[in-house]
């Protein structure tokens, strides 16, 4: 039997100095877990900033680092405003704190492209306040006016060049009342942010294997759990044949878990799934024990459900006498369309999708009786606290949720289902437990991006221009499981009308009817939220209208845009993509415009389709107006990432259902695009309009599917209104090798 290793990768080993090997700004920061720094000399000026008398400046990152660069740009904002020496700051992963709550939601979480657009001002004010307190102490001591001082490289400097470290003033500064008002630095004074690309803080550890993800957490005396959950929505475990598992090497416990996710279920009876866990000394022993069990299931009330029967529910809802929720009513679209002789109608559908982050769900927990400590790759630190408090009867302030690096989040890790399991099992066995899902567990027990269906109808006037637009939207809930609600949403589901309720366009007569579908598969938020599928429908339909008018798609869109920022990104993308330059080489262009997460983006995709029908994507040009781009390197990476995410969902990946459960189980049948596809020329231009800062991380994927389908229409005259495109036999030359 394998040796049980305890504490071999301790939390302490996480404290390390990082240096960059090549190029760019040298970064000598360190990165620590919250709670690791037991230095009594650390003085908190506020929830985000601590300084020691020996002038070590610690900046706390309150948002999860899941690839989007939060761990770099958020502390850079603080350091910039504080006047701290970036090369020497210590960057620490925050726990939960009231100051870390997103004020729009009164909740601490990472997602919805919130990190920069919500916290830019908060962080600047927080850091400016700390800076002014340090300056005030220095001013008193040096008997000068505080306004004559400045903060630079973690020193307070006076007009004569006399300077002293922050640490000299911090003890007195913390006794001051924070100033009621502070003057923020002008963008021209920013040194670390604002059109400057910093080397990412997390990159060195991510290229040498030392970055600690949830799966890498080691706690003394920790045991390991492998689990099996009933794969049938609403089903249950009928029987478990143990087959001598209790005599197997490393076996510790066999635990029936009452339900997988006791809190979040919509409707409750559909989501109630039983599970069983094996706790063992090592993960592999737990897996071997689990594989020894013979588990049979009762399929429950949804045994007949499959993709076809679900799709029929969508169609019947769209076409039937549905009790619609009136999401938008402007003018009188219904009457206009009824009276018109010239109408156009189109129906769109986007398939179900799995998050499939590369790191499968996992969490480590120690239930200590009256306290709980958790180590998890989570986007929802406070949601986890709320769930655990409710389930285990322990107050939130006695629940510590340590956040590791996340091996992808994409919305999946807002939920606390896997964290609950780790705590439940730790309580059962009385020792810390790490629970690790397999890829199959992860894909079969995801809370999916639901399939959504949209119908667009327009009446056209004598010039062939739309005078009224009537849209129907059918979608399961997106946010029901994310919010800690004891109630079930009625009427309009939050997030699901995004991109179709408020659009970049203005039409005088507009009606949006929506319907919140209640069906068994669990659904939740997925990178691009409601925008992803709705914008596919809207921007495809805009293209259909432009074609009907036989007008250039950009010229047509400009007739209806409601904001000058839309014009800005349309012009920028037209220029960068050479939209108006005629292609002679069989290349065709498609465009899509979006306004999402307070960011405007327009994207042009250039393609060709060869005689064999193979799709070649040549160039993807995106113009982004997020107000001010703080770090163009990270923002460009985010757009590139979004393009891959969007293309994967547009072309290949989908989740299907059969006999009341999910069909796909791993990357052999949930197909995600690989590296060969991406010899595409990707160009991203930022339009710095100076407007309020918007989010970028979720904006990237949104225009991809409609821009691609519009390009395919331009090239072939074929309009595809359902995704993914592989179901229409649209393949790239690489996909044809691996798509079944």
């Amino acid at each position: 039997m394998a040796e049980i290793r305890i504490d071999n990768v301790s939390r302490r080993s996480f404290i390390k100095t990082m240096g960059l090997a090549t190029g760019g700004l040298m970064l000598q920061g360190s990165y620590v877990f919250a709670g690791d720094d037991k230095n009594p000399q650390q003085i908190s000026l506020n929830a985000f900033i601590r300084i020691t008398p020996d002038n070590k400046v610690t900046l706390i990152v309150h948002q999860a680092e899941m690839g989007q660069g939060a761990q770099t740009t958020l502390p850079a904002i603080l350091a910039d405003e504080l006047g701290a020496n970036w090369n020497a700051v210590i960057i620490e992963n925050g726990l939960t704190d009231p100051a870390f709550k997103n004020p729009k939601f009164n909740l601490q979480f990472t997602g919805n492209a919130e990190s920069i657009r919500t916290f830019h001002d908060i962080l600047r004010n927080t850091a400016a306040s700390a800076r002014e307190m340090l300056k005030q102490v220095a001013a008193n001591r040096w008997q000068v006016d505080s306004d004559s001082l400045r903060a630079e490289n973690s020193y307070i400097v006076n007009q004569n060049g006399k300077k002293a470290p922050f640490g000299d003033f911090v003890e007195e500064a913390m006794k001051l009342e924070p100033p009621k008002e502070v003057t923020l630095k002008k963008p021209s004074e920013w040194k670390l942010t604002g059109n400057k690309s910093l080397p990412r803080v997390d990159v060195p550890a991510k290229v040498n294997g030392s970055a600690i993800f949830g799966i890498d957490v080691e706690i003394p005396k920790m045991l390991h759990a492998a689990i099996a959950m009933c794969p049938y929505f609403g089903g249950s475990i009928r029987e478990i044949k143990e087959n001598g598992v209790r005599q197997m090497s490393g076996f510790v416990a066999l635990v029936r878990m009452p339900v997988v996710n006791p809190i979040f279920s919509n409707p409750p009876e559909h989501n109630k799934r039983e599970g069983v866990a094996i706790v063992a000394d090592t993960y592999w022993n737990a897996r071997k024990c689990l594989d020894t069990l013979e588990i049979s299931y009762d399929k429950g009330p949804n045994a007949e459900m499959d993709s076809e029967s679900l799709h029929k529910i969508y169609e019947d809802t769209i076409n039937g006498s549905t009790k619609w929720f009136e999401s938008v009513k402007e003018g009188d679209a219904e009457a206009k369309i009824k009276d018109s002789k010239n109408t156009i109608k189109a129906q769109y559908y986007s398939a179900w999708q799995s998050h499939a982050p590369m790191e499968p769900m996992n969490a480590t927990a120690h239930f200590k009786g009256d306290t709980i400590e958790v180590w998890a790759p989570t986007q929802g630190q406070e949601m986890a606290q709320i769930v655990l408090a409710k389930e285990f009867g322990i107050p939130v302030e006695k629940i510590i949720v340590n956040r590791t690096y996340l091996g992808g989040g994409f919305g999946r890790r807002l939920l606390a289902d896997y964290i609950y399991q780790a705590v439940f099992l730790s309580k059962e066995v009385g020792l810390p437990v790490k629970v690790l899902w397999t890829r199959e567990d992860d894909m079969q027990h995801d809370f999916y991006r639901p399939g959504t269906m949209q119908e667009f109808q327009a009446s056209l006037n004598d010039e062939g221009l739309p005078e009224a637009i009537y849209t129907k939207l059918v979608s399961p809930s997106i946010l029901q499981v994310v919010v800690n609600a004891d109630y079930v949403f009625e009427g309009e589901g939050p997030s699901y009308p995004e991109g179709i309720k408020e659009t970049p366009y203005h039409f005088e007569n507009r009606l949006l009817h929506s319907y919140l579908l209640r069906i068994p598969p669990p659904s939740s938020v997925w990178r691009s939220t409601g925008f992803g599928t709705n914008v596919f429908a809207l921007e495809s339909f805009m293209d259909e209208l432009a074609y009907k008018k036989r007008e250039d798609p950009i010229t047509f869109r400009k007739r209806y845009i409601a904001d000058e920022r839309s014009r800005g990104v349309l012009d920028a993308v037209a220029k960068a993509s050479e939209w108006y330059t005629e292609r002679k080489d069989g290349h065709f262009l498609g465009i899509a415009l979006t306004h999402s997460f307070e960011t405007f983006a327009a994207q042009v995709i250039e393609i060709s389709i060869d005689d064999a029908g193979i799709l070649d994507i040549h160039k993807i040009t995106t113009a982004v107006d997020c107000g001010t781009v703080l770090d163009p390197g990270i923002a460009s990476a985010s757009i590139e990432s979004g393009i891959v995410w969007g293309l994967t969902a547009a072309l290949t990946s989908e989740i299907n259902f059969k006999e009341g459960r999910t069909v796909e189980s791993n990357f052999h049948d949930f197909k995600i695009l690989g590296l060969p596809e991406f010899d595409i020329d990707i160009e991203t231009v930022f339009v710095n309009s100076g407007a309020k800062i918007g989010g970028v991380a979720e904006s990237g994927p949104i225009p991809v599917a409609p821009a691609l389908c519009n390009a395919i229409f331009a090239a072939s005259g074929k309009r595809y209104r359902t995704l993914p495109l592989k179901n229409h036999n649209i393949y790239t030359r690489y996909m044809s090798d691996y798509v079944v």
Partner: protein, 154 residues
């Protein structure tokens, strides 16, 4: 006991011979840089070198490692002396969430060992790892850069 070398050091382990090498490396030896993702050698997150061949360690029983020389992400370079591929990865700022990157880097190191000047097509044919953040575009750039850097240093 099964004996082999990892990153130049000798190890003997008493794990079940059928245990995937991934879990021996991670849990018995304590090298956590090699990651578990699909468990069926589809994605490459667990890629390592066994006697200079790229192996997906999630599907490689430890018994086949007997007498072999294994290299993991921890063995190709250090923070102070990074491998040229790691340098290129930093220069191009490739990682996002970072979870799959050890596997990509191990695949790229091997590619450049056997083909110091790979074309795009060579890269397509040999880097079959999956990344959900979509770092592919920068992975390709970083491999070309590493190839250039390697030539310059020779």
């Amino acid at each position: 006991m099964i004996e082999f070398k990892v990153n130049g050091k000798n190890y003997s382990v008493d794990d079940d011979p059928d245990t995937p090498l991934l879990w021996v490396l991670r849990d018995s030896i304590g090298l956590k840089g090699t990651k578990f993702s699909c468990g069926r050698s589809f994605c490459g997150a667990c890629s390592i070198h066994v006697d200079n061949e790229v192996v997906r360690s999630c599907s490689f029983p430890v018994k086949y490692a007997e007498g072999k020389s294994i290299t993991t992400i921890e063995g190709i370079g250090t923070e102070e002396k990074p491998h040229v591929v790691q340098k290129a990865w930093i220069e191009e700022q490739v990682p996002q969430c970072g979870y799959c990157q050890s596997g990509f880097i191990m695949s790229a190191v091997r590619l450049l060992d056997i083909n110091p000047n790979p074309t795009d097509e060579d890269i397509n044919n040999s880097i079959t790892n999956l990344c959900r953040c979509g770092t592919y575009y920068r992975v390709r750039k970083a491999i070309h850069l590493a190839s250039e850097m390697k030539k310059q240093s020779e």
